[in-house]
Symmetry: none
């Protein structure tokens, strides 16, 4: 399994790039430094020109890889959810008990992210910040339906369905498994943001707060058979 993991590549819809950034050193630099830069200055202020300066290259080179900065954001977001799915698989694969499995899934979703040495060019901690602070901008746009038709959000939707299935494995009678999965995945991003910036309305003072909240939630909500 080690070999398998070493040759690992998170797959992302190929409509999102003009040239696969994983296929060249420059591409990897674009991804790696792009993540750091968005984390640093925010997506609004992020431009390909600034990224070009950052990697000692010209913005035009970046345009060979991505049509525009929106697609870049969708790309790294999609990569993130693909990577999360992979984390989820690794963490839950050997667990038989559905309740334990779902609790582990919540941990994967809601616990603070750690660096993944398997993907050297990507700083997963910075990327996680972007997911919290910027990723909703990848779909809160007027072209969301078009992008969705192109399959740009498949990684995310796949993950939701995955968690939803785990919920159903715990309680087949529960009526809203998809909504609950969405609540856990998106909601935990939101709770992390709130605890960071709006401390007066949080009861999750530390990194693991959201995890407790969702574990308690499912414990009350779902009736295991």
């Amino acid at each position: 399994m080690d070999d398998l993991l070493n040759n690992l590549k998170i797959s992302v819809s190929d409509g999102l790039y003009l040239k696969d950034p994983e296929s060249s050193d420059l591409g990897k630099k674009i991804i790696g430094n792009g993540i750091m830069l968005i984390d640093k200055i925010g997506f609004e202020d992020f431009t390909f020109r600034k990224l070009g300066a950052e990697i000692q290259s010209n913005e035009s080179s970046i345009y060979r890889y991505f049509e525009n900065k929106h697609n870049f954001l969708v790309y790294i977001t999609s990569w993130f959810w693909g990577w999360k799915e992979f984390q989820l698989l690794l963490a839950t694969n050997n667990i038989k008990d559905p309740v334990k499995k779902l609790n582990t899934a919540i941990e994967v979703m809601a616990m603070p992210v750690k660096e993944d040495i398997r993907f050297k060019h990507i700083n997963e901690v910075a990327l996680n910040n972007i997911i919290i602070n910027e990723s909703s901008k990848s779909y809160l746009t007027k072209k969301v339906d078009e992008d969705n038709d192109h399959g740009y959000f498949l990684s995310y939707k796949h993950l939701v369905k995955h968690v939803s299935a785990m919920i159903q494995d715990v309680d087949r009678t529960y009526t809203f498994p998809l909504s609950l999965a969405t609540t856990i995945i998106n909601g935990s991003l939101n709770l992390h943001f709130v605890s960071e910036h709006f401390s007066s309305i949080t009861d999750c003072k530390d990194g693991i707060g959201p995890t407790m909240f969702y574990k308690n939630l499912i414990a009350q909500l779902l009736k295991s058979p």
Copy 2:
């Protein structure tokens, strides 16, 4: 009470505007048409120039009222939450039973919005769309802490605390009242978005889906005394 309602004004932090838009016809036109325009073209493409054209005025006139389009978004978002708080008060004021009260609150938060004839210049339905599609951009920015220090998000936070208090009135032992309130308020926006655009991951096919989801949630989660 009629008089009270007629003289009604939703209060918004005065740091958000340079000149109170409620104080003149032009100001109301800016708010009213601004909401319609953002709903139509999205916040990214929205500019004061386009709004100026819409209201047959010059963009410089709008700068008399708002420093920039970000503050405009924060303003209308803040107005919305103030208005929601007011709806909440009207709807729950006379209810004694805490459980009933919280359920009514969920309805106010999660049910589709209807036009409010009390505020003639504002189309609450369009504004609600903006809240769903754009409002998170009002705080997902690098200056969120600065804006927060200025008190720009007080309406929203006040509402969260209000719902949180209602939750506590139902179950004093529950550990995460604020997180649950946040989950209901923000989560329902998200569920509405998902059911509109990502139909494959929703189990709320109609407008009232989210309401049912949250009512079920609190019924299971909170132990009434």
Copy 3:
């Protein structure tokens, strides 16, 4: 009639500009210097940025007047033909004899242009060079039909019809008055270009060559009654 001439304004389709360049000093500077600059460096190399530098202003100011450089070219071309029509009227107004009238028209069309002191901000000689060297680019484009539908070529077409009518006044039996008018108007631009640049295939070594050619042409071609 003097007063009339002093208040003169050549009219150009208002779809061609965003703001009437005749309505401000800056607008006139844009027209005047734009003509000089295109004459100097050619339409391909002409940009609003360079024109901005020329008039100590920013290109963005020019964009307030014209949507793009193509529309600028169509504008000055249209102005030119409106002006030519006006020259034609002045020169032929009092002539009764149709043959004399048509010969005078040929002179107006084919003789070298002189400065017109009535339009101080426009250098008609430079503009005439542009008409010879660049004006065909105003219609040799993929959007010619669209532009034509907007009425951008009305001045030119009106002039052709005017000359065509003069031809018919000379010889009602002639079958191709419009083609002949086109031949005179466009052809003389071409002959001027050829005599300037392709001397081996011209027999019009001087400025008045084309005039003689067309006068001879109509003398042979048309049968006066």
Copy 4:
């Protein structure tokens, strides 16, 4: 004569290309698809990158053949006039009567073009459209004199002289044979454009209109001996 025709190659000034496009399959693809592409999108929007995509090759390959897109246009224009000269020769070679000869020449110049099966890689109909719509841009530039000095317009000028000679064979006393030849050759391109796009100023509603116009013209203008 069959052999002669089979080995036929229209000669074009070798300064126009870096590597003879007739010397390789790729070269012929560049010419053939380049013509189709310019016809489709217009010369302004035509780029070597787009042509590269069209022929499944890289733009850099095209740079091996042509220095820039301007030279490409001059090349195909030059090829066209060489080909026209050849058509003229074929059509008039056996005609003795100068008047008949000139009339045939007019037909070759002004009648709609038909596919020539002798040059498989070139679509002469598309090329003729380019000559009508784009070819003037090959000489209406600031470097026309330089290009002319390099001999890039020899094919065209040779054709003009050829027709001019035919005119003189009909009427030695006529003063403007070159101008008349130019008028016929260039004017017919212009009349075709006008009848296609400016229908209100044409009296040549069909493809053969210009032919009639010029035949009538020379019949009146030239005195056969």
